[in-house]
Amino acid sequence: MARLIKTEKEVEGRYSEQWVVVEDDDALDQWPQGPGAVVGKPATRQDGPQRARGQAIYTADLQLPGMLHAAVLRSPHARARAEKMDLSPALELPGVLGAIGPDDCHVLQSEPGYHGAPVAAVAADSFARAREALAAIEVEWEELEPLLDPEEAVRRESFVSDPRRYDRGDVEAGFAQADVIVEAEYRTQTVLHNSMETHQSVCRWEGDTLEVYISTQFIWGVRASIAEQLELPPDRVRVVCNYMGGGFGSKNSPGDYTYIAIALAGKTGRPVRCALTRREENLATGNRNATIQRLRAGARSDGTLVALDAEYVNAVGWTGWSGPTYGPLEMLYACDNVRTLTYGAKLNLPPNAAFRAPGFVEGTYGLECLLDELAARLELDPLALRRRNHADQDLEDGRPFSSKKLLECYDRAEEHWARRDEVRARSEGSVRRGTGLASQIWYGGGGPPSYAGVRVSSDGSATVLTAMQDIGTGTRTAMAQIAAEELGLPVERVRVSLGDSARGTYASVSAGSSTTPSMGPAVRAAAADAARQILEIAAQRFDLEQRVLSLRDGRVVSADGGSWPLEEITGLLEDAQITGRGSRGPNPAGMRVLTFGVQVADVAVDVETGEVTVERIAAIHDIGRVINPLGARSQVEGGIIQGVGHTLSEERMFDPASGTILTQTLDAYKLPTIADVPEIAVDFPDIPDEHLTNLGSKGLGEPPIVPTAAAIVNAIRDATGADVRSLPVSREEMLRALREAREREKKLATAPA
């Protein structure tokens, strides 16, 4: 029976209450810990061959008959007003079939607030002609003074939302008990997602239905947003995304480009593609915002934290949201007295967007570096300091964690941490080596609503049906494994059909590390529903009791030794199928569901040139049960490599006078290459969360990028004694930190005893 319940839903740390419908009979016991027949064993990607051979059709590859191409005129100024705009010269050019301005589409702006804001757009029979036509649009700009400095924004109270204040205990009383107080100001830079497939969509009207083919992380969110904006019944918006080329948080909503394509499709009566160029991608598709973090920590001489105090400035941009930079400091360590104040600065710079553990990557860098500065002052082992301050329950309201294996992660980190003397000893000449670590906390429990169907055909093969998306994380494969385990089939006999809101059930967003923990339990429930029906039929067919039957190795197996190929049962149905359905049950009531981990980095620093090389990173993450060890390792490696880029080379830069974005190409914006990759060792406790769903699995997309920057910077301190305070660790910053460390040492040496 369907049951209506109210449950707490969390996406990237934002909690809301919502009604969901769940099946009453989702009472499946979790599988025992350890690998099963399929789940917990490495599986190669189901769609790997198509992607590798170039046969997978991404949104970028889609060609619809009569399709036009849009080009977008973007603001050349960080803040300006269009005094006059004339689209008509563009419409006179050959091949141009439509042009729209701020009066035609709500995302086009006559008073743009950042360089790259969309102002007008043209549709033409080729992208080249559409771009040429942009030059014909006449705009008279009145330039206005931009606000670019986040500290100035705080002074002027230019915020995207009210400042956030948080208080726990009594911070001043806490500092009064402290034997040691450390304080520091950390800064992080603006970082760009730069998915390989740029943001894009193709929109067309099919009768009364709007079809949206889009590179997205959230088919259903795109559908809901567009339906609301256009005041259409949701079922008259069909959203399709079979293959997509990366998102990392930036593709959770329709985006300006989709509304532009819709408006131009309406104007021209033709399908319209709006695909951003790489330069547009680097201007106007969101970013991980820069932060300023003024932190203070007080501790007793044994390392017990007694007070944490922080002021954060998130340099959000023109729009966007002020993310949880404060999260790790409030949540990671058992400290009774905590105070944070967070500003979200509204600036004439491109809007931010969620980027793989938004806020927590930035906040963990500040917190975990401060903790190592504290460890150095107290002459304590950094790992021991973290163990001492381990939080046994949620610090907000004392709720128990559904599971927390952080101490187990620390134990597994020991062997990597123990190498540090040997690492330091390998220093030679101007190259100093060292080891650092940092802890990780993040969400990742997923939640309802999420639904799936499983169809078992007469030939004994199965198809999982749900309108989720695989953004490259391998969720297609993980879902196939889960269904295969439940149906007792080899994974090759299970296919997954996803990516189309018209052909599948509601599915979770692929963000917030939620796809596997949200979708996996629904897929298992659907497979169990199908399996139950198969066994019921088999019991009748073979005149046996259902309880003695099970499904294994593609066969119906009886406890008394009988065994029949699955096709003997399913084949009875000829062309028809057995269908199962399943839903994601609620999260455990009264518990906090979080992921945890630790990373240990080894670095080499050339103290003459300031060059930093990350030589090795060991990562241990507690994400509950691991469904696919092969894919899970890849997720961790990918997160770490993005983290290395964030720490050492990536930085979105702008002209501080005009607000013009300077890093618009992949030449100027330095992504890591294969030559920058350290040795990476990946480990999981792989212990199912006994309270979380019928799987015990949490999400893994985001945890691995969270502690990387702090681990690297702490390794730099171990190697050189220098306190890096701002990211990226450019040579200038490295040399500054080294100079400061030398001066500090000099002062100590000359100070009177």
Binding site: P49, A52, A60, M196, R278, E637, I641, Q642, T665
Partner: protein, 146 residues
């Protein structure tokens, strides 16, 4: 001007306007969409194809300069052992850069069937992968014949 292009072992006739890139011709005129365009200005390697066996960036190669050189795209390498190696080692995530990675790697192992890790890193440094599959890409190329 009608061009006869030698692509993946067959001859294809196209009549592109002056200024058209090889990548646009492959994708838009010939439907060979395995070749991806991710930056369009020669910085990322997603559009890599081979001309007479050497990797080139097709998004900054004008189609009129190709002449009678043999063009090999990912569609011409679908049975290459590297495809299996990439899948086996999980050397792809979103897969958008993967065709370019495989075309580059195929040129490398043709020239040097047993490349060192250092050589792989050097030869593949022009192929960006934002998902960060690099460790596995290196493994795939080092073990491509396994």
């Amino acid at each position: 001007m009608v061009l006869s292009l030698r692509i993946n072992g067959s001859v294809r006739e196209v009549d592109p306007p002056v200024g058209r890139t090889l990548a646009e011709t492959l994708r838009d005129d010939l439907g060979l969409t395995g070749t991806k365009i991710a930056c369009g200005e020669g910085h990322c390697g997603a559009c890599t194809v081979q001309l007479d066996g050497s990797p080139v960036l097709s998004c900054i190669t004008l189609v009129h300069t190709v002449g009678d050189r043999e063009v090999t795209t990912i569609e011409g390498l679908q049975d290459h052992p590297l495809v299996d190696a990439f899948v086996r080692t999980d050397a792809l995530q979103c897969g958008f850069c993967t065709p370019g990675q495989i075309v580059s790697a195929a040129a490398l192992v043709e020239a040097d069937p047993e490349p060192t890790a250092e050589r792989v890193r050097h030869a593949m440094a022009g192929n960006l992968c934002r998902c960060g599959a690099y460790s596995r890409i290196e493994e795939a190329v080092l073990t491509w014949r396994d």
